[in-house]
Symmetry: C2
Subunit: 200 residues, 2 copies
């Protein structure tokens, strides 16, 4: 990482981007503000100009990360060139490639912080929970579209299937991180897409 | 927590038990050795008599936790008074009750440490990975038994189904922790047991 600070807005964005990288790999507690400042070579006063505390920094990191993630999620899950089931598979493939390119490190910022901080900070828990809700709703929309076209089973509600899909995926990512192998992601995709979702 | 230290062996066991409680809720990084010593009112020298470092303490905590967890897992998943599918449901119900009694705090020590420490400590990652493998094999045995009796679908291998079951459950626990609600666990049980595993 060798970002250049060229202006006020840039400084805040860079602080958020470096925060995402560090918190994704090391978690909230292990990420020190001083470490962020050292990487960017900006003074501590600059940090507190933008953020009141480490917790409010993390809240803005969650929002920043969510904006990018949601934009991509919508792009993939509303792609008119693929059917709903193929889109869900593309979403998994994309995330799997990302994880593989990082040697199965990091995983998902929202899942990681959820695991680490849900019992530690009610402020962060609420933010993380609402981001998870939003992503599930987008996945449920895609599943519902597949149910309407008959491609996806309709024996369960789209929201229930989205809950199983999302929880299952985040559990598979955790397992992949711990094994340092993408095999659990392949198993998830194979079974979830072809068996659980696909209409007989 | 108000444990009494009554002997050498007791001290080590109490250090492990208090460590489990703290690491389960706060994680590895947020758990301080001094905090453990304060709770038990034992001197630092006593800690280093039993453990070389915080990391080796965590390794022994993982082993200690695993022994209790595995004994219970075998008890539930080999219960001759229930069929394999009912046993898997009992396992989920038991874990759900535990999480509910803790107001959806803590979750599973192995999942929590896996999320937090897989990128931070190769020693801990290896231990956690091998514990996860062992639990999956026990779950796969139960699923295989159900496949042999025709109660569980045989279109996939018992190990693949165990992988989906275990990852899905740990993802649902993470979601329950973040929502502070057991609803995601109910959804998981309903869909996984009745739709994914149960033979048509």
């Amino acid at each position: 990482m060798s970002p250049k600070v060229t202006g006020k807005q840039d400084t805040k964005t860079l602080l958020l981007q470096v925060g995402i990288e560090l918190m994704m790999e090391k978690g909230y507690t292990n990420t020190g503000i001083q470490e962020v400042l050292n990487i960017l070579n900006v003074p501590k006063g600059s940090f507190y100009h933008y953020f009141d505390s480490k917790e409010s920094y993390a809240v803005e990191i969650i929002h920043y990360f969510d904006r990018g993630y949601t934009a991509n999620l919508l792009h993939v899950l509303k792609n008119p060139e693929q059917g709903p089931l193929e889109r869900l598979n593309s979403y998994c493939e994309q995330n799997k490639s990302m994880l593989a390119s990082q040697q199965c490190r990091k995983g998902c910022l929202i899942g990681n912080l959820g695991q680490e901080m849900s019992d530690q900070s009610e402020v962060l828990r609420t933010e993380l929970s609402s981001v998870m809700d939003k992503w599930r709703a987008i996945i449920a929309d895609c599943i519902e579209e597949g149910q309407n076209t008959g491609e996806i089973k309709s024996t369960r509600s789209a929201m229930e299937l989205a809950e199983l899909f999302s929880s299952g995926w985040s559990g598979a990512v955790l397992r992949a991180k711990t094994l340092k192998s993408t095999a659990p992601l392949d198993t998830f995709m194979e079974l979830m897409i072809k068996d659980v979702l696909k209409a007989c």
